[in-house]
């Protein structure tokens, strides 16, 4: 089925290449890089890279298919005993090419599923240690390593934004930004509580311990997208060190951190990374909007207004995946029942299969929800 799909799209390879030529011509105009054209040139640049990738992928598949066909031909011509070794080589080559083609095809098919409104945005991953002290902090460390490795394997760009080190080991919290095509769409299913069961090296009696870490995923909105989301002032509460008392000229405290609470959903965002309060306020607001959009998506509601606050709390704490290291080894995703005994491989970054099955599962759910709504 994958081969057939690929074949269908090769006829449009010419179309794509024409489109790319047009875009390249546009970008070679001297006025293209002027400030006034910045939103157009950003769009064109990202389109060029997006379509360019597609073309490269299609060409790669054509090559692989060609290799496969050629190898098959050679194999069918080699019937004699004396060619057995050579034949084996060709069989291997063919298998290798076909497998790569299949995997690529599956991945591409998956990306087609990632067509939600903000799926193509970069995403912010925030890991938080649950109760459990040192063990929980170590768990966060294991998770950040896992996500970092996985993201890099998938050719995403990872940057560490912030972290709070644990008292003895690991992290109380860890924040990273992942950039690349469909970053948010790919990682959004990681949101929830991840449960680790193992013999804790930090436990005095070396007993088996269960710890949790919370993973939060939200899209990072572009500046243009921020204005499309509107939150009434009455729904948010902004606090800083200056709150209380008269403020204004009366006070000269320079704490620039801003805390925004969204009253209907209970979400709290804190931002202290910038030099001034107004900058931090803008950033915190932008992040709040990103979070709300992510939740609206999860709850499958059209507007942020419709988000159910009680469901937010529940969703955040929802246990989504178990990682058991002792007495047996298993990673199991609660939502799809996907499981694997190769926990170490998983923790080393091998999430593709699991995430793939998740996204397909969700796409199916969303389709069913949509068709039942339409009825």
């Amino acid at each position: 089925p994958c081969l057939k799909k690929n074949q269908e799209s090769t006829t449009s390879l010419d179309k794509l290449e024409l489109m790319i030529q047009d875009l390249e011509r546009e970008s070679s105009e001297p006025s293209f890089w002027e400030e006034s054209n910045s939103s157009r040139n950003k769009y064109v640049t990202s389109q060029l890279s997006f379509q360019g990738r597609k073309v490269a992928q299609l060409k790669k598949w054509e090559t692989l298919k060609g290799d496969c066909d050629a190898a098959l031909e050679m194999i069918s011509e080699m019937n004699g005993e004396e060619d057995a070794e050579e034949r084996q080589l060709f069989i291997e080559e063919c298998t290798h090419a076909a497998t790569e083609l299949l995997q690529d095809g599956q991945r591409y098919e998956l990306e087609l599923l990632l067509s939600g409104p903000y799926d193509n945005s970069p995403c912010r991953l925030v890991l938080t240690a649950g109760a459990g002290g040192t063990e929980a902090c170590d768990w966060v460390d294991m998770l950040q390593r896992m996500y970092k490795r996985h993201a890099e394997q998938q050719n995403y760009k990872v940057s560490v934004e912030d972290y709070q080190a644990g008292d003895q080991v690991g992290y109380k919290s860890f924040e990273m930004v992942i950039e690349g095509p469909n970053a948010y769409g790919w990682f959004r299913a990681e949101k929830g509580a991840h449960r680790l069961v193992r013999l804790s090296p930090f436990n005095a009696n070396n007993k088996r311990q269960t710890t949790f870490a919370g993973v939060d995923v939200a899209p990072i909105l572009q500046d243009e997208e921020v204005d499309t989301v509107d939150i009434p002032d009455s729904e948010i509460e902004i606090t800083t060190m200056r709150a209380g008392g008269k403020g204004g000229q009366n006070v000269n405290k320079v704490e620039t951190a801003v805390r925004i609470k969204h009253l209907p959903s209970g979400i709290n965002i804190k931002c202290s990374q910038e030099r001034t309060q107004s900058m931090n306020r803008e950033i915190a607001l932008k992040r709040l909007k990103g979070q709300l959009l992510a939740i609206a998506r999860e709850q499958r509601v059209e507007e942020i207004k419709a988000i159910r606050g009680d469901a937010v709390e529940a969703a955040w704490g929802a246990q989504i995946r178990n990682y058991v290291l002792q007495p047996y080894k298993m990673v199991k995703d609660q939502r799809t029942n996907w499981e694997s005994s190769n926990v170490q491989g998983f923790l080393d970054g091998d999430l593709e299969d699991c995430i793939g099955s998740l996204l397909r599962h969700r796409a199916k759910e969303e389709q069913e929800a949509q068709s039942s709504q339409e009825q």
């Binding site: 006034s36 902004i238 800083t240 200056r242 709150a243 008269k246 403020g247 204004g248 000229q249 009366n250 006070v251 000269n252 320079v254 620039t256 030099r275 001034t276 309060q277 107004s278 900058m279 306020r281």
Partner: protein, 258 residues
């Protein structure tokens, strides 16, 4: 206890850095909000910013009590090349510092040649348009020329005047009251002395329909509204609306010249 702004000699405001020294008032975050509100309003009226080479129309803005120059410079950066700012203060150090900051932030040519920013030693009470025509590079032929004077009237007047009521001055912490100038903080008994001076001055320095925005003490918006609703015909100034700052305090007022 010395404010960190004075120790460092500089502090951030919006997205630039201002040089600062005692006893000038250290810009507060509320003032950043004021600049955002005014800039947004100005740009809305002008239909968005137009590139400099297509439009010679200047937007004249007066910053009363400029201090480090925060408000005037902030507005110039947000509004763009059309902005033409005049700033006044009673403190010579403020005149000097705000000019230094303007040149550093807006550019030497913009300030000295294009006259985008000008600071004068003057109180709100004493300020007149004629004090401008004698120092302005605009046509010098006839100081009493009406058209000329009209050209110099301001589109927008902004101020963060000293507004703390006398009684509140005792509640201030040392880091404020020991270092920042009393003249920059205290607005008299009810805190409205300078504000009243500004209101009385508006019709003679501001275009008809022009707006005046001020950062004030939370007790002031209602007092101002009461006063102006009653006396707008004699004063020639009406109360448009009050705004709250991000902390929920009644912090900003918008007035209009009739």
């Amino acid at each position: 206890q010395e404010p960190i702004q004075y120790i460092l000699g500089k502090w951030d405001f919006l997205d630039f850095t201002l040089a600062i020294q005692a006893p000038l008032l250290c810009p507060r975050p509320e003032t950043e909000e004021l600049v955002h509100v005014v800039a947004k309003n100005v740009l809305k009226d002008e239909g968005g910013v137009v590139p400099d080479n297509h439009n010679n129309k200047k937007i004249r803005m007066l910053d009363i009590g400029c201090g480090t120059g925060a408000i005037g410079i902030g507005l110039a950066t947000l509004v763009g090349p059309q902005a033409q700012v005049v700033a006044i203060d009673v403190e010579p150090l403020a005149v000097e510092t705000s000019m230094t900051n303007a040149i550093a932030i807006l550019g030497h040519e913009e300030v000295m040649i294009k006259q985008q920013y000008q600071a004068l030693l003057c109180s709100a009470k004493d300020f007149t348009i004629s004090s401008l025509s004698s120092s302005s590079l605009l046509a010098q032929e006839d100081d009493t020329n009406d058209t000329h004077t009209t050209q110099l009237l301001f589109d927008v007047v902004v101020s963060n005047p000293p507004y703390i009521p006398r009684s509140d001055m005792d509640t201030l912490t040392d880091d404020v009251v020991q270092y920042e100038s009393d003249k920059a903080l205290c607005g008299g008994l009810d805190g409205m002395d300078v504000i009243r001076d500004i209101v009385h001055k508006l019709p003679s320095i501001c275009k008809m329909g022009g707006y005046c925005w001020m950062e004030v003490d939370p007790t002031h918006p209602s007092l101002l509204k009461e006063w102006l609703d009653r006396d707008f015909t004699t004063l020639g100034v009406s109360y448009v609306q009050g705004y709250q700052d991000m902390f929920g305090k009644d912090r900003f007022v918008q007035l209009q010249v009739l």
